[in-house]
């Protein structure tokens, strides 16, 4: 390169500290409950104490007359408002859809169902007035367990869903073929496993602020939202029936989501309706118990696994039959999570010739279940990774070796698993496995385990391996959409890159963060690609009024879909800049070289036009090429050709106390492959948090309902969110296998840690107990559960 052009200082791949942080570490963030509007009023919700009951009367008279009360409303007042929609039904089968009204109409079906709303001058007064509402119930029998709910004679939740069945969906080969393969297998193992119900627990609960302005007939909704554009669309067009151009949705700083803030909740349309009815802005912010009772939960599968293998550990058949508890109503995308994102991923990293998956969605008198970090893939990975260990146990082949023998090979990509998933884009599974085993010291661990067993020591050693592949950046629209997998929209993203007259850059993105550092990562990409200083780039997001449509942040899709839209917009800007530079340099466009923010004529590097020079000329527009419009801006709507499929192997080493059943993780290794990495610090942080949530499922967390439908774990005192002292140090490493799905060669990273970790811990705990006869144990591995297993397994 010519001497006058400095070597570019690339930001992609650098651990740039986050530009988001200063406001957050000084208390200057703007979270939902921090929003103050003139004349603000406050909503509190009267919620059902019963899991299943008919409402026979509501008297709000006393509440209306309590201090500070502005209005009290019940489901009858909102009878003309549509119920919330279910936007992703299971594809190809009948779905018996029942979705919630904003406030209950006639019947409540879970503890926490909203019955009435009080709006008052303060939060304290609104809550006081809840006690002035009298409700008469006729209690009905409740059912909380999906296995009980499908039995004859079980309490029925919805008239249109006989036996509480939402849908019955299958994928893969037909059951008879797989049964035949199982019958002919040299080794055959069956196991029932539970993937227990979890509560996502973003540290910030959910809430909404609604403002209706009569003079312009405009609605503004501030919401704790992972998907403000979708919320705008759904609230306007499907719930309230107001023109879409008259509603603006803003996600302020969002304090974590993990899936639970994707969905459309009752309070979003409710605060807008209330604001219009009362002429005041209205804020609702749930407390933690409301969050636990009524914001969506995750997982809750009961699965029967049958697996066939050869004597040397080659898997020849897999049959999976799952009851997916979807709660009292369908949340926004619940059936799709339990089918497309779960059933079509059960093959994991392996070449398995005969697979049949059968999923029944089930209504119960519990909180709605929908996507929670990983959404279907953790459940699928748990099934196949437990199955691998069951094969290892039955055949005597080492668990790591079972995985190695069944891996899809590099030459097989793109690989079609034959169960309706898009082809896995790229992968190289052995190096990640080997690196993880090496970091863990696998060989010496096995020796140590054997020695301890021989000595009969008090601390049992368990080694768990989990190899995973997951699906993220979910697309393309024609596959995932209504005609394919049943998603009721597209899944593209959009971005507008605008270079101002001064050469400064604004990027408006349909993607938005709730902790992932989009502003930093996206600015790194633009800085490199456009060749402008990082600090000259502003990333704007989260306000539907200033940004192009986007489907939101979930499914580890922001970088690979939203980031690619930005990347392509930058390229379009560069193309126009080159045309203008050619005009300015009096050269042919094809002779222009553009690198690092500078354009010059090939062979004449001394005459340079910078992007700033070009941007100025584009805006003053005194001298543009014939036919060129002023301005320097480009918009991209990007619909990827495929998902991306990151993968890796995690190894967990545990010590189990023979006397108490206590499990301690003494080593945790994660080797992950997410293709090219933009900001390794942020990616590692995503894995830390993801692994923490996966470990938490294995060791600590579980939502527990009493038989009468009461949520026992309704506070942070009862639901075991792990503390700093309850989690280990995560040792991370990476392999890099790029993808050609997007031009950055990057895959998603937000959920992989959660997906890979839970089975690694589960396999470690079962491994620690295996010499006592334990083949499987359901999570969470509390000391009591482990202790009992040791007593029973050791009979």
């Amino acid at each position: 390169m010519a001497a006058t052009i400095e070597a570019p200082e690339l930001l992609v791949g650098q651990p740039i500290r986050r530009r988001e942080d200063p406001k957050l570490m000084t208390g200057s963030g703007n979270f939902l409950d921090d929003i103050r509007l003139p004349g603000m009023s406050y909503a509190a919700i009267l919620r059902s104490p019963a899991a299943h009951a008919r409402i026979t009367g509501i008297d709000t008279t006393k509440a209306r007359n309590m201090p500070g009360v502005i209005g009290v409303f019940t489901g009858e007042d909102l009878a003309d408002v549509n119920p919330l929609p279910c936007a992703w039904q299971a594809a190809g089968v009948e779905n018996n859809v029942a979705t919630p009204h904003l406030l209950a109409l006639g019947e409540v079906r879970q503890v926490g169902d909203p019955i009435a709303v009080v709006v008052a001058e303060s939060v304290y007064q609104a809550n006081d007035a809840l006690e002035g509402i009298e409700v008469d119930f006729e209690e009905l029998e409740a059912v909380v367990d999906s296995r009980e709910a499908v039995k004859p004679g079980a309490p029925q939740l919805h008239e249109n869903a006989p036996n509480n069945i939402v849908m019955h969906w299958t994928c893969g080969a037909d059951a008879e073929t797989v049964d035949k393969a199982l019958a002919g297998a040299e080794v055959r193992v069956s196991q029932s496993v539970a993937n227990q119900r979890l509560i996502p627990t973003a540290m910030e609960p959910r809430g909404s602020v609604g403002l209706y302005e009569p003079a312009t007939q405009e609605y503004t909704l501030w919401a704790t939202s992972q998907a403000p554009h979708v919320h705008k669309l759904v609230v306007a067009a499907f719930v309230l029936g107001i023109p879409e151009q008259k509603i603006r949705v803003i996600a302020p700083d969002v304090g974590g989501g993990f899936g639970s803030k994707i969905f459309v909740y009752f309070d979003m349309p409710l605060v807008l309706w209330l604001s219009k009815a009362l002429g005041r802005p209205v804020k609702f912010f749930e407390d933690r118990t409301e969050n636990y009772l009524h914001t969506t939960h995750g997982r809750d599968h009961h699965t029967d696994i049958e697996i066939g293998a050869t004597k040397d550990g080659k898997i020849t058949a897999l049959k999976v039959s799952t009851l997916a508890n979807l709660g009292a109503y369908l949340s926004t995308v619940a059936p799709g999570v339990a089918t497309t994102l779960y059933g079509r991923m059960v093959a994991g990293c392996y070449k398995i010739p005969n697979i049949h998956v059968d999923v029944k969605g089930v209504y119960t008198n519990t909180a709605m279940v929908d996507a929670y970090r990983g959404a279907g893939r953790p459940e699928a990975t748990f099934v196949i990774e437990r199955a691998c260990d069951l094969v290892a146990d039955a055949t005597g082949v080492d668990p790591a070796e079972v995985r190695r023998r069944n891996f899809i090979q590099p030459a097989d990509f793109p690989y079609d698993t034959g169960i309706g998933m898009l082809p896995y884009d790229s992968g190289n599974y052995v190096p990640a496995l080997d690196l993880a085993l090496q970091h863990a010291g696998y060989a010496s661990l096995l020796e140590q385990q054997a020695a301890r067993r021989a000595n009969g020591g008090r601390k049992l050693l368990g080694i768990g391996v989990s190899s995973y592949v997951e699906e993220c950046g979910i697309a393309p629209s024609k596959w995932i959409g209504l005609s394919g997998e049943g998603w009721g929209a597209g899944l593209w993203e959009s971005a507008d890159v605008r270079v101002y007259l001064t050469g400064k850059v604004s990027v408006t993105s349909g993607s938005l963060p709730h902790g992932q550092g989009h502003e930093t990562t996206f600015a790194q990409i633009v800085a490199d690609r456009l060749g402008v200083p990082y600090d000259d780039i502003e990333i704007e997001h989260s306000d539907t009024k200033g940004t192009p449509f986007g489907f939101g942040s979930y499914g580890s899709r922001s970088l690979t879909v939203g980031g690619t839209a930005i990347y392509k917009s930058v390229d379009k800007v560069v193309e126009k800049a080159k045309l203008l530079a050619a005009h300015m340099l009096e050269a042919a466009p094809e002779d222009i070289v553009y690198e690092n923010g500078k354009a010059w004529v090939k062979g004449s590097p001394d005459a340079v036009k910078t992007i700033q020079d070009i941007a100025l000329q584009a805006h003053v527009a005194y001298d543009l090429p014939s036919g060129m419009e002023p301005g320097l801006e480009a918009v991209t709507y990007y619909d990827p050709p495929n998902c991306t499929f990151p993968f890796g192997t995690h190894v967990c080493v545990v010590e189990v106390d023979r006397d108490t059943g206590n499990v301690e993780i003494i080593k945790y290794v994660g080797v992950d492959d997410v293709g090219n990495v933009i900001n390794p610090m942020i990616v590692d942080g995503q894995f830390h948090g993801g692994i923490a949530q996966g470990i938490a499922q294995a060791l600590y967390e579980g939502a527990v309902y009493a038989d009468n439908g009461e949520l026992i774990t309704a506070t942070m005192n009862d639901y075991a969110i792990p503390k700093a002292s309850m989690l280990p140090t995560y040792e991370l490493d990476r392999t890099v296998t790029t993808t050609d799905v997007n031009p950055m060669g990057a895959k998603g990273a937000g959920e992989a840690g959660t997906i890979g970790s839970t089975p690694a811990v589960a396999n470690a705990v079962v491994d620690a107990l295996s010499h006592l006869g334990v083949k499987h144990l359901d999570m969470p591995y509390t000391p009591e559960r482990v202790w009992r297993a040791m007593q029973n397994g050791n009979a």
């Binding site: 651990p15 740039i16 942080d21 000084t26 970091h439 010496s444 942080g685």
Partner: protein, 203 residues
């Protein structure tokens, strides 16, 4: 300081918050966190639970870390309070804030103010803590994003800086790229790790 009833059902309170004197008449039941957020507009102190578990509301009351959701405003009468808004001085972030920034100790940032307040009070008591002591000290503060690893590193960073030690670079670099050796991926030499285990069996 004795509380005095002013109007029926109201309590007069005076307190100094981040160096500024405030006086107000409040309902006796008003929680301190509500007073800080709603009356004073100091919304950096957050509410994440209603059972005193999460620690998003931790502030300093006369130098001690307290959960402001678990105190009545009247109980802070006469006290000196510091909230997250009072931690940076003259626009300079303190060592703990820098630690969180440098070590990527925050993601969504909702727990961060409470974490910083708890961790600063902890280092006041224990300036040179072990990792286990740090993890124990943070048990009253929950984080759902980071898995705590980088929060522990942030506290270690602050401890070192407060004790006058060298500014250890974190993974978080500014744009000068002074520190390229950032991600310590490779664990320490693991060849003998299994053998080490043998010696630790009955810990």
């Amino acid at each position: 300081m004795a509380t005095t009833m002013t109007a029926p059902g109201r309590v007069a309170v005076r307190m100094k918050v981040n160096g500024v004197e405030y006086a107000a008449d409040v309902e006796p039941r008003l929680l301190l966190v509500s007073f800080l957020r709603d009356n004073l507009g100091l919304t950096g102190t957050h509410i994440g639970c209603d059972t005193s578990q999460c620690g998003a509301c931790v502030i300093h009351l006369d130098g001690e870390p307290v959960k402001s959701c678990t105190l009545l405003t009247a109980q802070a009468n006469g006290a000196e309070l510091t909230t997250i808004e009072g931690v940076a001085k003259n626009g300079e972030y303190d060592a703990m804030q820098m630690g969180f920034w440098e070590m990527h100790g925050l993601q969504c940032g909702y727990c961060t103010p409470g974490m910083i307040m708890t961790a600063n009070a902890f280092l006041d008591r224990n300036p040179d803590p072990t990792e286990a002591e740090i993890r124990h000290a943070l048990e009253g503060n929950l984080c759902r994003c980071t898995g705590y690893q980088n929060i522990v590193k942030a506290v270690q960073y602050a401890a070192k800086q407060r004790s006058g030690g060298a500014m250890e670079p974190g993974p978080g670099t500014d744009l000068d790229f002074e520190h390229k050796d950032v991600i310590e991926h490779a664990p320490e030499d693991l060849q003998d790790w299994g053998d080490q285990l043998a010696g630790q069996e009955e810990r």
